[in-house]
């Protein structure tokens, strides 16, 4: 009893004397693919909340009112700046959706091993970019 108490004390003291190295330079750590998908999931979600929801509501509100309003909305959306906004939101929605579906699969224990988890995160990244390119082609 006393001996194990001493061991614990020694371990505690060691931790104080020799703390584990902490290296948290996020710009220099090479993040694994699932980590990149994860942070992009968060960034795209924030973007969809801050910009996506108001733009969506505004778009539906003005476009549904009358044929003239619809045409006017289309001409506004044809401006390069708005096209970029629409494209960014399209990427955010697609990435968030695909990363979310991957998350649901992980929740039911599909693809939780390292190799499939890496592969599915690569698929999410590439597929969302490809679909965004398709949206871009249709926009321009």
């Amino acid at each position: 009893m006393a001996a194990s108490g001493l061991t614990i004390m020694a371990v505690l003291e060691r931790r104080i004397v020799k703390p584990r190295p902490v290296y948290l330079n996020l710009l220099e750590i090479r993040q694994p693919l699932p980590a990149i998908v994860s942070i992009l999931h968060r960034i795209s979600g924030a973007l969809l909340f801050l910009v996506g929801i108001p733009v969506l509501l505004w778009g539906v509100h003005v476009s549904v009112a009358s044929p003239e309003a619809f045409a006017q909305w289309k001409s506004v959306m044809a401006q390069p700046l708005w096209k970029l906004v629409a494209l960014a939101l399209a990427w955010a929605y697609i990435h968030h959706l695909l990363a979310g579906l991957r998350h649901l699969a992980l929740d039911v224990h599909v693809g939780v091993e390292l190799a499939p988890a890496r592969r599915s995160s690569a698929i999410v990244l590439v597929l969302s970019l490809l679909l965004t390119i398709i949206v871009a082609v249709r926009l321009w």
Binding site: F49, V60, V64, A65, F70, L97, G100, D107
Partner: protein, 119 residues
């Protein structure tokens, strides 16, 4: 009945509830996304008559309402998680969360106005 008071004191259930609601709302939104995508592909694009027709259809209005409410719940859980991670001072975090709640309630009002308002 014997219950463990510490569980209730720390409210061990709300995390589970958020976890579940985040997934249920996600599925609702994914299905709606498929629906809208299908409608657009079916009509070969969106012109005004299709667009107006959709929003004149009560079933589509209700589906859209369901999507938006799911979206607002989903956004609340997500943004609150972000706030809990990055906004450390309690007062600031509370302020951020209150602003977010007000925005989402206002958006819900706007949604009803768009769907059922006299335009």
């Amino acid at each position: 009945m014997v219950t463990n008071p510490s569980h209730e004191a720390v409210s061990a259930h709300y995390g589970w509830r958020d976890w579940l609601s985040q997934r249920v709302t996600a599925v609702v939104m994914a299905l709606y996304t498929l629906l809208v995508f299908g409608v657009v592909v079916w009509h070969g694009g969106l012109d005004y008559s299709v667009w107006k027709g959709l929003f004149a259809n009560n079933a589509f209005k209700l589906a859209t309402f369901l999507f938006m409410i799911a979206l607002f719940f989903h956004a609340w859980v997500g943004v609150r998680n972000i706030a809990m991670d990055y906004v450390k001072p309690t007062g600031w975090r509370l302020a951020v969360q209150m602003v977010v709640i007000c925005m989402l309630i206002a958006y819900a009002g706007w949604t009803i106005q768009i769907l059922w308002g006299a335009v």
